[in-house]
Symmetry: D2
Subunit: 308 residues, 4 copies
């Protein structure tokens, strides 16, 4: 069992939760998509995130999905999203998944938090509830949570709570936040790992600003793996060439609500899951949208030929 | 086992969930507060509402609280709040509590809903998930849910979904909504039961506008019972006299966030629960606030002497 | 010309802007309602607040209303609301009204502000724009602005900006905020004046917690004047007796949106303005609402007889 | 003087408002950037939009900017954004700019609107205020306005108000909305013009779905002109090739808040305005951001060489 740390780097794919057409959990596809993610270059997974349809699962289903993903990952690190309206549920699920071998848990702030003080207080309560020995990923995603965490407040949280080892960075705009966090570390604050979300739409710039990798679920995870590898090697032009081949689809998949339908459609098309089915409430793809996605994938393949 | 219907009238008290000081569920106090509510004039209860700290319970705890309340109610109707981010959890909890003998379930709209069409679509999906035989209370509480349901959209929902038998009315301002709904019924639309929330702060006016009773948790439930009884008897002046004696505390308890601390403090003081403890996140009362509440209760007792 | 200071106490009535039935500004009624407010015990006025329909005026109309109110106040202090989306408009209106003899300006935070740092930064920019010699009232009204200012952030603003001399307090719940601000002053921070809003619905408690008076527009300003006077004299029971006579209407007038229609209806009925007309968008009163208001005023008169 | 109609097609550039470094309006740069937009292929302009910093201008400045832009446009159509919190200001500015020769006005819904009924009611009031002879652009931008207008509600508005001749489309996701609107027109509803915003980030797809052009302010307006021209010619592959060359910068400029700084930086670099200065509140570019923009422009130039 490996835990995430402040030094963790690489690509953690935000895993989808596969459903059969009758909306039951498709256990076989969990195995298949887990294998797929690692084959395409993932260093670890994050399950039960927002794009993992976590709020649509019952608590026992959530635990079952986490357990299956952890087992299939066979020692590779799996972070589990445990965000919930109440701390009792967070505490219970955290204990269960850490016992199963999770590498850490991810917690987004509830939308009721308004002031800096409330945000810091919330994470203090979370850590008091789950125990200071559980590594925590703080998910900073204001577009969805409606909670704006300033760089100063992030710093206060990092200083107060050593078990917060990683930031899932998806503020928008957010490049300056990475620079500012790294600058504070250069001036003496302890390091944290920064993995970036938002579908990867700013990944090359994020790597140059000092990110450690990606934590997002774009349906071509090899994109994230390649960009992170090339960026770490200092080959930023090569990284941009590759990135631009994927960018039209990255952009299209980043649309709120419909984005998950695109992602599952592509994963099903690539054979990684058996069905693109989402649980309700969920949004499907119109024939026009499917045609647009197919066109983009075909163009993307031609572009990748050119840049390789 | 009695079910709520479109003809249900009276007072359904929004029940608190009692915790011991160690934050575990206080089963004995569930029995005690259940008895207390009925002694003070309740016709039924609503458990696992927002003020029942439902989001702070695990799913198994929620079911245990509902079961205990239903059993102790001994045939009196108990509505169970089942609002959750995902339909799987709503479906699972609904099935479990209806099997235990609940009188119906209450569902608030998730804050992601924006348009009239989305709101109607959501309730259609809820009913498709839980079955059209389960009576549903629609909780209309925009101050907390941030979902504004127009009278027209409420009408469309009522027309489309016969199993929605009751409105928990707590729009603010909301008196006109009651008048408009009753007017539409007079013109031919099927009747629904309207029980009013918001801590009872407009209960006399709501009764005059056509409400069927109260569904709220003010710590002196005898207020709701008396106002509903007097209003039904047409004794509006007497109702106002009584109401005004309680109004300072009603107003104070209606404060967001701190209101639940006031309510539990009063219930503990009255012997209905063993401890005013809330689960986290929760807000406590300062000594100054406690002094204000104590003063108000003493004044209230003197005023009630005068009007009785 | 008198300016507001950190020592200002008493009742500043939030003035309505009277319109004729054709929606033009009713200058004569400005004079009449101004006289009315002072006759009923106001120590000063605040014009062009939210309840003064400020956003519905053109810039030249806003200046005309402010000018007329200041002149008619004949030396009594008039605060002018200058909140606007842009700093150029704030600067321009501030200069104009201070030249006319305003006692200070009131600024609410724009809803785009999220973090503590942004809120402090905003007020720094405001003061830089209008000049540090203009006394400023900070309007703290999260229910409407959606900006939650913590007590700590208020403290930081007070320490950074000496020209912020007054807080228009209408956080909800907000009693603890008053206590905390006064406690920080007891420990050495400079004093600010705290006048309370929210229609006066917590005025007796606010005075006991340390407020300096009221800044709100309840249509019976004599209520605020009496409560403030009795509270300052330590006669809290008498204050509560009076307050309770008004409380049903205070509660009713505090309803969002419809509240202004109630206020203007009562002021017109009392002869303080010629017409209850609001500019669009605005909400009118149904016959049922008018009947409720009339009943409450009659009951209120009888109750006041009893307590006087 | 030409007015926009339901048949209007092409590119209307959302114009920046140029300021000198002392934050005064730079009239000379208004002329220069106006010429620049037309040289790069604009068919018309839209001034005083959100990205034109309209809320930061005083009313007299707003009118001066509109007048200057209209005159310099020399007969080409100029739409003027007149959104304001109150209808009096909307009415006053509309009258003034139409007298100056504007081609129509653009109105976004205020964030206080919640239900479909309120949204329709608002536009009815707007049209009643400004007169049914003034062509109106409805700006549908939920990310900023927080008002979600369903396709059904858009249809109801279009049917009720013939003077609403154009939709500024920037819902996100929004492609299906275009398809649905065009489908309703095919079934008999009157046509409206649809020009797309959002920085152009979905322009090729929007044109295929049936849009009539672009109304957005990307700092390389030749992109919009070329995509619209090629799309109308059915050359979708060519359009995508060109689009992809610009997409990295489009994406970067589309970031909220910082986007305008990028846009003004590029326009200043291209000589279209003298200074990238924004009025406060505004966000500047860090050296790292400037370097990223410069790199992207250089790559973009190389890519454009390849595809031309």
């Amino acid at each position: 069992m490996s835990l995430i740390t402040t030094e963790t780097r690489g690509v953690f794919v935000i895993a989808v939760t596969p459903f059969r057409e009758d909306m039951s959990i498709d256990v076989e596809s969990i195995d298949r998509v887990t294998d797929f993610y690692y084959e395409k270059g993932a260093d670890g997974l994050t399950v039960l995130g927002m794009m993992g349809e976590a709020p649509k699962l019952t608590q026992s289903e959530a635990l079952a999905v986490a357990r299956q993903s952890i087992r299939r990952s066979n020692g590779k690190p799996v972070v589990v999203g445990v965000s919930a309206p109440g701390l009792a549920a967070i505490g219970e699920l955290t204990k269960a998944v850490m016992d199963e071998g999770a590498a850490g848990v991810m917690v987004a702030p509830p939308s009721t938090l308004k002031t800096d003080e409330q945000i810091l207080g919330y994470y203090q309560t979370v850590v008091a509830t789950i125990g200071a020995d559980v590594p925590v990923v703080l998910q900073d995603f204001p577009l969805v949570t409606h909670v704006q965490i300033s760089t100063g407040t992030l710093g206060a949280i990092v200083e107060a709570l050593p078990s917060i080892v990683m930031l899932k960075h998806e503020d928008w705009p957010g490049l300056q936040k990475i620079s500012d966090l790294r600058k504070a570390e250069a001036a003496g604050r302890r390091r944290i790992s920064i993995l970036c979300g938002n579908g990867g739409v700013f990944l090359p710039e994020e790597m140059k600003r000092g990110a450690d990798g990606a934590m997002t679920g774009f349906a071509f995870p090899e994109m994230m793996a390649d960009i992170v590898r090339l960026s770490n090697a200092g080959e930023h032009e090569r990284a941009m060439d590759l990135f631009e081949a994927y960018l039209p689809l990255v952009r299209y998949e980043q649309q709120p609500s419909i984005g998950l339908a695109v992602r599952k459609h592509v994963l099903a098309k690539r054979g990684a899951i058996a069905s693109a089915t989402q649980r309700r409430p969920g949004t499907g793809l119109s024939p026009a949208a499917i045609a647009e996605v197919e066109d983009m994938i075909a163009r993307q393949a031609r572009k990748l030929e050119q840049v390789k």
